[in-house]
């Protein structure tokens, strides 16, 4: 019994101890909170502040829950009181308290206070309300519990409200005509909405701010245009209209016009007025411009215009014409008529002052000057005169030469002169020897011109042209310039002259014949190329393609381009042979290029002779180089005709073999290989044949004397020769028969009989017989055939007898 009592007492004590444990009490408090018995829970928790880490947190939570109740009942003041008590609980935090969990509760309570304060501000357009929002913002800003996730959003709401009020105030002020104040309000509004282009208030405030500036005649901020573009149509239209007015007031007509065209509705009457104002302004400027031009014209009448003024007017006339014609459409003709007159004045002055370089530049910049015989003549004589003063340089010689040659070769220049000159005597002029045409191409010729034979009374136009060229050539040679430059110039002159002569000799139509440099520079090369292309298409005249090459300037799909590439390929091949470069030769010869070359007969026909030439020089430089033989083989394979090349190859191969074998630098088997290849190329070459026969003899003797390790290869080569003996080979082959007989004569008679009959031979004997048979067959003897072979076959004696 006593034990039972003790156990009960101990149990009771245990229970009491258990119940007095902080955790037990804390759990009890949690239960009470769950039952909404918040005061009782707080009483327990109050005693646990120093004993349980979450006691303070839960204690504050009880206040929070009480606040929530009031909030639900919309008793916001009471709710704020209780939320504040949550925050005030901070004072209860002890050293054991979990601060983080308390802070969470406090932050939530603080957010609720801030939100209630925000919600309870009754929104209207007044600065007082702005103050209220700002005050709450300040309240949020200074609190230590303003870290709740919802706080930033709440701050933004405040800012939007403030911006909205500022914007509305701005509108009121603007309507009242207080633009400065309005502007300030709009600026304030935007300051609360940092660059938020998706915010209507922000965009409108910015736009209205700029409109206020325009109303105040202030300069607008052009960087805001992109924001204004996002505003409503009304605001945008209002802005641009006022902006155009402002630009017009500031005489920025081009800018104003650009905005009218792109931003405003030109059908509206007010906008039409704007357009009219712009037009008026342009008209005013045009009037001033025309007055200036008229002044220049008057100066020309009075001969008081300076060259500088003339040149300035001349250079700007096209631009002026383009600009003025927008306002005054008829003016283009007036200004166009002025240009030739100015041109003549300027050219005349340049010629008087001997400023021929400027004259050349003036003429060659005249649009399509090459179509005018007068201008071509003028450019020709300007070039000539310019060169008289030693004016050739490395930079200008090409243009000067091309201009002069093109001018001198132009029949039309001469025909024009003939029209302009008064001839009292009964002279006529003939184009029959003219250098500017090979056919009677000129559709219109003056009455005193014909194509008849030259005589004393029928003067040669061609002779005059040639004289001009000779004088120009003389001038070139008289230039005081460095020798290298003179060579370069002379070479260029000759190439330009040759090229124009070539096209003149081919083209039967009246086109502008020009040198390649001229044609490319003044963009008339295509008309020349087209003519040459037609000539090839119609007549398969490859000279047309050749003539077109200097005029090529792009990769148009032309026969001339194909021909050029084919020709270049041949040049590359020749070059690779010159440099003994087998790889380059192979790489250059693609299937496409082979096909290109095969299209042009003249190229095909020229290939072998060019290859023979280049191999001639190569073999002189490399007399005993086996790699040359590889090049030869590739060249022979490529060349459409081969006979000369084959003989060239055979000769080189024979020389190489002879010199190397004589110098003991080549084995006779190798010699046989090379010589037999030479023989294949030139089977009737006597020298090749006699040397081949000598090598055959030496190789067979080597086999018979068991000095050769290539017997089977040698016999293979001999088999090929055997079946393809040329007359020359046969004529030289006696040496082989002689050798055969000498060998036979050295043998004892029984052995000789055995060898000739082929009976009773051992392996050595058979080897000897084989060699002798080859000597016999290759040597031309038909009697070496075994006379007993048929008998042996009949008797079934097909076995070897002992030697």
């Amino acid at each position: 019994m006593a034990a039972l009592i003790i156990i009960v007492v101990i149990g009771v004590i245990g229970i009491i101890i258990y119940l007095n444990q902080p955790n037990t009490k804390f759990n009890k408090a949690i239960n009470l909170i769950q039952q909404s018995r918040l005061n009782e829970a707080q009483e327990i928790l109050f005693k646990l502040f120093s004993k349980h880490p979450y006691a303070v947190t839960r204690y504050s939570e009880c206040f929070y829950l009480k606040a929530e109740e009031f909030k639900k009942q919309k008793k916001y003041n009471e709710a704020i009181n209780w939320y504040n008590k949550v925050i005030e609980t901070k004072k209860m935090i002890t050293h054991v308290s979990d601060k983080a969990s308390f802070n969470n509760v406090a932050q939530k309570a603080f957010y609720e206070i801030s939100q209630i304060q925000f919600d309870t501000i009754s929104f209207n357009i007044s600065t007082e309300i702005i103050k209220a929002y700002k005050k709450n913002l300040e309240f949020i800003k200074i609190s230590e519990f303003n870290n709740s996730q919802q706080i930033p959003e709440l701050i933004e709401k405040h800012k939007h409200k403030i911006a909205e009020i500022y914007f509305e105030i701005g509108l009121q002020e603007e309507k009242a005509g207080n633009f400065i104040t309005a502007k300030s309000s709009y600026t304030n509004a935007t300051s609360f909405l940092t660059n938020d282009l998706s915010n209507k208030i922000y965009i409108q405030s910015k736009a209205r701010n700029e409109i206020c500036k325009l109303k105040l005649n202030e300069i607008i901020d052009s960087s805001t245009i992109n924001i204004i573009e996002k505003s409503s149509n009304d605001i945008r239209f209002d802005f641009y209209y006022r902006y155009v007015l402002s630009l017009l007031k500031n005489e920025k007509f081009a800018d104003a016009e650009s905005i009218i065209e792109t931003k405003l509705d030109t059908k509206k009457s007010e906008i039409k007025k704007l357009i009219e104002i712009c037009k008026n302004e342009k008209l005013k400027l045009a009037t001033i411009e025309i007055e200036n031009i008229n002044k220049n014209i008057k100066d020309i009448y009075n001969n008081s215009s300076s060259l500088k003024n003339l040149v300035e007017l001349y250079d700007s006339i096209t631009e002026k014409s383009n600009n003025l014609s927008i306002i005054i459409p008829d003016i283009q003709n007036d200004l166009a008529e002025l240009k030739p007159s100015l041109f003549n004045r300027i050219l005349e002055t340049y010629n008087e002052r001997k400023e021929y370089g400027k004259a050349i530049s003036l003429i060659s910049n005249y649009q399509e000057f090459y179509k005018s015989p007068i201008l071509m003549k003028n450019v020709g004589n300007s070039c000539f005169n310019y060169l008289k003063d030693n004016n050739f340089t490395s930079k200008n010689y090409k243009i000067l030469i091309s201009l002069f040659i093109t001018s001198a070769y132009s029949d039309n220049v001469m025909l024009y002169s003939l029209e302009e000159t008064l001839w009292d005597d009964d002279y006529t002029f003939s184009l029959s020897e003219s250098i500017g045409s090979s056919y009677e191409i000129h559709s219109k010729i003056p009455e005193n011109v014909n194509y008849d034979e030259i005589s004393e009374k029928n003067i040669s136009i061609g002779e005059a042209q040639k004289y001009l060229l000779s004088q120009f050539e003389k001038l070139i040679n008289e230039q005081s310039i460095e020798h290298d430059l003179l060579s370069e110039i002379t070479e260029f002159y000759e190439s330009e002259k040759k090229a124009i002569e070539n096209i003149i000799s081919i083209i039967p139509n009246e086109i502008i014949f020009a040198t390649p440099y001229f044609a490319k520079k003044f963009k008339i090369a295509n008309s020349i190329l087209d003519e040459l292309e037609h000539d090839f298409t119609d007549y398969k005249n490859e000279e047309s393609l050749e003539a077109g090459i200097p005029y090529l300037n792009d990769n148009r799909d032309l026969w001339i381009n194909d021909y050029n590439e084919a020709k270049k390929t041949i040049e590359t091949l020749i070059e690779s042979i010159t440099h003994k470069n087998v790889l380059k030769f192979s790489e250059a010869l693609t299937d496409r290029r082979k096909k290109l070359i095969s299209q042009f007969d003249s190229l095909k026909e020229s290939i072998e002779i060019r290859l023979v030439d280049v191999f001639n020089s190569l073999t002189k430089r490399y007399s005993d180089d086996e790699s040359v033989l590889d090049l030869f083989k590739k060249a022979i394979d490529f060349s459409p005709t081969k006979e000369k090349l084959k003989y060239q190859y055979a000769g080189y191969a024979a020389n190489l073999c002879i010199s190397k074998i004589n110098a003991d630098k080549m084995k006779i088997y190798k010699g046989l290989q090379i010589m037999s290849n030479a023989y294949k190329m030139a089977p009737n070459d006597s020298r090749v044949c006699s040397n081949l026969i000598a090598l055959i003899r030496m190789n067979i003797l080597d086999i018979l004397n068991q000095r050769s390790s290539s017997a089977s290869n040698i016999y293979s080569i001999l088999d090929e020769i055997k079946s393809n003996r040329s007359n020359s080979f046969k004529n030289n082959a006696g040496e082989l028969i002689k050798t055969r007989n000498e060998i036979l004569n050295q043998l004892p008679s029984d052995a000789r009989i055995a060898i000739t009959s082929g009976i009773n031979l051992n392996s050595q004997g058979r080897e000897l017989k084989k060699g002798l048979d080859y000597l016999g067959v290759l040597g031309g003897s038909s009697t070496v055939k075994d006379p007993l072979a048929a008998l042996r076959e009949q008797l079934g004696l097909n076995f070897d007898l002992p030697f």
Partner: protein
């Protein structure tokens, strides 16, 4: 090669008589040497050589005597001050 037309101061379409007359005047004026004057006359009287001289003689392109440009358009009387600045006022919309 001096330009014979310049030496004799005659135009490109000078007749034979004008050339001879030009020679006489040039000889009196003595601007050019006697040799140059004689050579110039010879050149212009020889059709082949005159062709060459013609080439060297700068010619004028066809041109009309420049006319003063008349402006037939008069500006309208409209002035910027006539425009209503608030024509598209967006404030009251």
């Amino acid at each position: 090669m001096k330009n014979p037309y310049v030496v004799l101061d005659v135009p490109q379409n000078a007749t034979k008589n004008e050339i001879i007359k030009g020679k006489m005047i040039a000889m009196k004026q003595r601007i050019h040497s006697l040799q140059d004057i004689q050579l110039a006359e010879k050149q212009l009287l020889n059709p082949s050589k005159r062709l060459i001289a013609d080439f060297m003689y700068p010619s004028k392109i066809k041109a009309r005597r420049p006319k003063l440009i008349k402006l037939n358009i008069t500006p309208s009387n409209i002035c910027i001050d006539d425009l209503n600045e608030d024509a598209f006022d967006s404030l009251n919309k």
